[in-house]
């Protein structure tokens, strides 16, 4: 079985976000770009599955949608261990646009499992995985916190309110993964970085697709009042403030 991991290129999560003057795009000066953290966990789990010889998985491909500027992020995924990478040459558009491009990628291959992170740390859309599944007409399982193979069958744990469910689903399927799927994201070793340079990175032309939403502008949150400091010996005052000023107790 082949696994496809869909990855998104996002600003490092520790980045202080600034916007362009008209607030329609982020100021990319000094921004470090990374693999979206949830996608990175999905990729890590895909590698773990492939490396365990008892699993019927022999190939891991990563795919992303974006301009040439996202290729360093794809190379990073190759350095972590993906066998090959695909970039659909398409800039802009909403989640529906991105999912349409990824659907074309899936149709051009033979993937048994397609993994996506549950959201991206930039737009927090939580949309691409589910949209992709509906476009392909295949089952999807969301909030996946564990994915294993038992006797060749996929066994998934998904989080529900107050607990977990163990579910099985026939391939091909979309797994929308969250934290827990892998313990720590894998860090590329020097050998992996060297090997990544010569691994295949296929660039596909974009297919025709439409966006259903349009991003208008960014708005910064209202700045909040400074923190009111209370003396450690005067906890009674804190309780008083919580009761009578904040009215939350």
């Amino acid at each position: 079985m082949r696994i496809l991991v869909c990855i998104s290129n996002v600003p490092d999560t520790t980045t202080k976000i600034r916007f362009s003057n008209d607030n329609t795009s982020i100021d990319e000066n000094g921004v470090q770009w990374i693999i979206n953290p949830w996608d990175e966990l999905a990729l890590t789990r895909a590698m773990e599955i492939k490396e365990d010889a008892s699993n019927p998985v022999d190939h891991v491909t990563v795919a992303t949608v974006g301009g040439a500027g996202v290729e360093p992020t794809l190379r990073k995924a190759l350095a972590i261990g993906a066998d090959d990478a695909i970039r659909v040459d398409c800039v802009g558009g909403d989640a529906h646009q991105v999912a349409t491009q990824l659907a074309a990628v899936v149709k051009s291959g033979t993937y048994g499992a397609i993994l996506c992170g549950i959201e991206s740390s930039d737009y927090n859309g939580s949309a691409v995985g589910g949209m992709l599944a509906e476009m392909l007409g295949v089952p999807s399982v969301s909030a996946v916190s564990s994915l294993t193979f038992e006797n060749g069958e996929v066994v998934i744990t998904r989080d529900i309110d107050g607990g977990k469910e163990l579910v099985t689903v026939p391939a091909p399927f979309i797994g929308v993964v969250q934290k827990g799927i892998a313990k720590e994201p894998r860090i590329a070793a020097m050998r992996g970085i060297m090997m990544a340079r010569t691994k295949p990175l296929l660039v596909l032309a974009a297919v025709e697709a439409e966006s259903l939403t349009r991003f208008k502008e960014y708005v910064m949150p209202e700045s909040k009042a400074p923190c009111k400091m209370i003396d450690a010996d005067n906890v009674k005052e804190l309780v008083n403030l919580l009761q009578n000023e904040a009215k939350v107790l």
Binding site: G130, L212, V219, M229, L249
Partner: protein, 322 residues
């Protein structure tokens, strides 16, 4: 423009988020001059269903036949059938695990623009422009839906429940979807009974590395007990195994928005703040006066959490006793 709202139930009961959703849908409908229909899937009793009218639903579609667990395709089919029946042009769901699983599928099915994690009422309805969280709460984005039908998923705790009284007409909904077509098979369910869910809690008491050891959680649990609060922790704590992963709040863990959040011994890394910054009131206790948590907090104490906690428990008990 009519609005359809999917109200999820948990073992036959609606939760706070369901009432937030109906209140939100009612306010959207007021802007557009339409009515609100709530859709319930699964076994919920009549009183619980008609009570949705108190929050502004005019009618309730009761799809009592449904697969035992969530199958994304079956649920998509049922909700799409309800959209067709009601002719609604706005669909509202929760931005929780269920909403995240179904809303994108419905967006494709209905060719309806999806805005997830909305935090306020639309700024305009024609075209529909609405505000959502981006960059994990570091900013907001204004998004315009360019299709005739819109799907909005509401961020938890971002819209106040509005109770107006009244009851809704409940109608049994025969959606014609065969639950037998479900492709996900549920093999096992593990649920912790009787434990307050972190994402539901009005008050959350959380500890970080400053708690020094997993053995020091007794006062955190005691304070949570006194306040009827849920317990949480920062990422290093769950990574160390001091607390279970389910309690990890932060960017890659749970995103919560309680009314009151206590951070004990949490420095407030940007990834942690991403999970808690939507809380209405944040109280931080940390030995480092320069810890970033104090920039996000409303009230702060510079001090050792292990020393402050017992005093706080005593004072809150005393205040509650009055």
């Amino acid at each position: 423009m009519s609005v359809l709202v999917y109200t999820e139930n948990w073992d036959g009961k609606f939760k706070k988020i369901s009432f937030e959703l109906v209140s939100y849908a009612a306010s959207v409908a007021k802007m557009t001059g339409g009515s609100v229909t709530a859709l319930s899937i699964g076994n919920v009793n009549q009183d619980e269903l008609s009570n949705l009218g108190a929050y502004g639903a005019t009618s309730v579609l009761n799809a009592s036949s449904a697969p035992a667990g969530l199958d994304n395709q079956v649920y998509t089919n049922i909700i799409a059938a309800a959209m067709e029946k009601t002719g609604a042009t706005v669909l509202v769901l929760a931005n929780n695990n269920t909403g995240k699983a179904i809303a994108p599928r419905l967006s494709v099915r209905l060719k309806a623009g999806l805005v997830s994690g909305v935090t306020a009422l639309p700024e305009s309805v024609s075209p529909l422009v609405v505000r959502k969280k981006v960059f994990n709460g570091k900013a907001f984005g204004k998004v315009e839906v360019t299709t005739g039908t819109a799907i909005l998923t509401l961020a938890q705790n971002s819209f106040e429940i509005r109770e107006a009284g009244g009851s809704a007409a409940v109608e049994s909904f025969d959606h014609g979807v065969d639950a037998g077509t479900a492709k996900t098979t549920i093999k096992d369910v593990q649920k912790q009974e009787g434990k307050l869910l972190l994402t539901d809690a009005d008050v959350v008491v959380s500890g970080g590395r400053g708690m020094k050891s997993g053995d020091n959680w007794v006062p955190i649990e005691e304070l949570a007990g006194v306040l009827g609060a849920a317990t949480a922790c920062s990422r290093p704590v769950s990574d160390e195994g001091w607390r279970p992963h389910e309690e990890h709040t932060g960017q890659t863990g749970k995103i919560i928005a309680p009314n009151l959040y206590f951070a004990f011994g949490i420095s407030g890394a940007i990834q942690h703040l991403a999970g808690v910054s939507s809380s209405k009131c944040i109280v931080a206790v940390n030995t480092d006066k320069d810890a970033p948590i104090f920039e996000a907090a409303d009230y702060g104490i510079v001090g050792d959490a292990l020393k402050v906690l017992p005093d706080l428990i005593t004072e809150i008990k005393a205040a509650k006793a009055q």
